[in-house]
Symmetry: C2
Subunit: 462 residues, 2 copies
């Protein structure tokens, strides 16, 4: 245990070395198994839904989706993960020598391609949370459920709207002055240290990324003299100290109106249907898959993780069939960087749509299609990435939630477009500043999880 | 037609006289009929849901509700109105001689106890809205669907969470400099004129109240020297020029955290079930009613309204069985008025709960119950209203939406509590300033419709 004084914690090792060490200690073995080898999970005889016999955790159900508005797919079906409970993703903060540190956990999840990733202090379900007064197995939960400390962030945010049905978690950051014991697999990190890890592949998990994206006023706060390229430096310097409205092309009232208008036009309606007989999908002994092989598969895994509280278990997981591209393009408008975001309808969203990055898709799915059927800006982004490395500010692979998604990796890209890139955009798109995105992040369900990861990526460039 | 110049419109008559005149011209006759006499509406043979044969308008379905958290009713069933489309409630604004005016409509609705009430410029369904480019029968819709003018307000807000399933409408105010023809049944009103009517019973309809509650920065803007009592004057003077955080007992971060915490603890889950066989409810030839006679009834009406586009039609309506009490208590904390609001779980809410007034219930339902089973602050409010008229700032009966609800009247009350009224409140309650409520109203689904009406009522006291 580290001495819990107010002086900087003696962590002993470089942060990335520490994560690598934890990975060596926290080994796990994950094997795909037939559904019949799942323990405690069954297909409901009536609906065919895949669920735990206790009703806990989550279930896999069917979803019928109907599109609305121009260009929408009129109707489709898909499996979806239903996990209605609100969990807590909490990061504990504390100042040492005046510098804010964050208590992060090295956590192994079965879906992680590389085992251990940096996670929030606490990832707790509602069941953990409501039991806190009766003693809880979740370390540090008392800071989040018990109101011990100053709340810096406390907001519900959605998760993958393509795979989850109206899933949301409570994103929290609580700052304490108390003495905090540092348990095994935990370590205090500065924001700089976390951001350095975020500029590598698969080191900072999705839950940590979303919570950190909600931290107010953090952009530019750690701007450094070296490291970034000249263009990157100018970029992050101009992001520093941005108030929400400073130099923005659109006022907040206009941005909010654009979002409301999009909801009125582009809403999807989604309703739960039985998983059995879902049109376009079939079930074998080992997977539920799309008849044409795309999108994702529902599989079952057997997990052995000797260092976790439950050393062995089985569970279903969602395994995407290809890597997604999440790209945020930006350009300066009146000397201020503006990011091109889209109002994106997602079937699992609580209220039809949220704000996503410029490009959010699986490029593989569009390879054979003519340009007019490909998502806007996809081709431009791929060309930029291939031919203009000097315009790429961020280009890393990050994992989605490793407790539900199997080897779900996406390419996250931040790129500066050419000076003659058109400011005019289709009505589903809008140019906004980082300050405006941060202001929206004070509230629920504006930015989707992919956009929140990209906000964290942009902020890592300081 | 009124001359559409920039000088103050010559409306010719006092605003309340004008409404009364319109009421005389816009007569209607509403008669309850058996369900079998409905034209175009049928009970679905499978589910028993009551719906229009075109699938348009709305349907009456069954809802199964499960409570969560301390004190919650564990489970109940009820009919619910399902109207998934997003409509537009739009008020057109224009300055005459520098004074902002609002174009209001005198509109008759079958559920109104008094026929005509003051309504927004436009109440349009999505079907109206999406047809706007092909020519629309809805006057003035082009200002809202066509982006003609400056947007002052554009936000989705929920409607009655006890009676509607996830219903929301787009609340808009658009200001124009164009020449605007004034059609029959329309008239330009100043904010003062509308607020004067709001200080009477059943003159300003629900749709107008919710839209006006979202108008930013309007409190105190029209403070007048006379009219209100001394205490009322001091009250409204101290509301003037309040920024969201000015003098508030809790920061916005704390208020948002309180709301998030409540969602994590008190969420309801609600799922649609067949209307046929709904436990605790029964259907006769003329009504769907609760077995014990409470809550509300679903009825059918025949409407004759010679001056409306469709002069005669039939439709189902929801008729509450008793009058509700919506009360907002306030006291000064550090010289600033603070309102006591609650995080209120409602079965039809999109995300489990919204912020409601201090008291929101049908007092009749609790008359026979012991004090500990009555809602917090109900007894205190009733005693205040009966014995301390000097503490009552607002006490009027207002109607809920007359297109869906039959004779649904509620008593709206704003009262100042005694100086020794405890600041400590149950965790579901929070003291907030008017500035904070107005800041929350920039975003969707914070304040429920009842709280929004009360914000409009408080602002009418200027």
């Amino acid at each position: 245990m580290v001495d819990p004084s107010v002086t900087a914690p003696e962590t002993g090792t470089d942060s990335s070395v520490w994560v690598a060490e934890r990975a060596q200690l926290n080994t796990q073995h994950v094997e795909t198994i037939p559904f019949s080898a799942l323990s405690g999970w069954d297909f409901d005889p009536g609906t065919g839904d895949l669920r735990h016999h206790t009703g806990r955790f989550f279930s896999v159900r069917g979803l019928r989706v109907r599109g609305a508005g121009e260009g929408a797919v009129p109707e489709w079906w898909q499996p979806v993960i239903d996990q209605p409970e609100i969990g807590v993703l909490g990061i504990l903060a504390k100042r040492f020598d005046g510098v804010r540190h964050f208590l992060m956990q090295a956590k192994v999840e079965p879906g992680n391609v590389n085992g251990v990733q940096l996670s929030p202090t606490v990832q707790a379900t509602r069941s953990n949370y409501t039991r806190v007064h009766r003693g809880t197995p979740v370390a540090y939960l008392e800071y989040f459920a018990g109101h011990r400390g100053r709340v810096l962030v406390d907001v519900l945010q959605s998760e993958q709207g393509s795979w989850f049905l109206r899933k949301r978690n409570r994103n929290m950051i609580v700052e304490t002055d108390a003495e905090v014991p540092v348990h095994e697999d935990f370590r205090w990190f500065t924001l700089d240290e976390i951001r350095t890890l975020l500029r590598r592949d698969n080191m900072v998990n999705m839950d940590a990324r979303t919570v950190l994206s909600c931290l107010p006023g953090s952009h530019g706060a750690t701007a450094r003299a070296g490291g970034a390229s000249g263009a990157g430096q100018a970029f992050t310097a101009s992001l520093a100290a941005l108030s929400p409205a400073a130099g923005s092309a659109h006022s907040m009232t206009e941005v909010l109106s654009w979002f409301t208008e999009a909801k009125a036009w582009y809403g999807l309606t989604a309703g739960v249907v039985p998983l059995t007989g879902l049109p376009g999908w079939h079930r074998t002994s080992t997977e539920i898959a799309h008849d044409e092989g795309g999108y994702f598969r529902i599989i079952a895994v057997d997990v052995t993780a000797p260092h976790r509280e439950v050393p062995r278990w089985t569970q279903p997981m969602l395994a995407p069939t290809s890597r997604g591209l999440l790209a945020l393009l930006y350009r300066t408008i009146g000397d201020v960087p503006h990011f091109l975001v889209q109002a994106r309808a997602q079937q699992g969203s609580l209220d039809a749509l949220e704000i996503g990055p410029t490009v959010q898709c699986s490029p593989d799915r569009y390879r054979e299609l003519p340009p007019e059927d490909r998502p806007p800006y996809l081709d431009h982004t791929l060309t930029l990435a291939a031919r203009s490395p000097d315009r790429i500010r961020y280009d890393h692979v990050q994992s989605e939630e490793g407790g539900r998604f199997f080897a779900a990796e996406n390419r996250y890209l931040v790129a500066e477009v050419e000076a003659d890139f058109p400011v005019e955009a289709p009505s589903r798109f809008c140019w906004v500043t980082l300050g405006q995105l941060k202001e929206l992040l004070r509230h629920s369900y504006y930015l989707n999880i992919e956009a929140r990861t990209l906000v964290a990526c942009v902020e890592s460039l300081g």
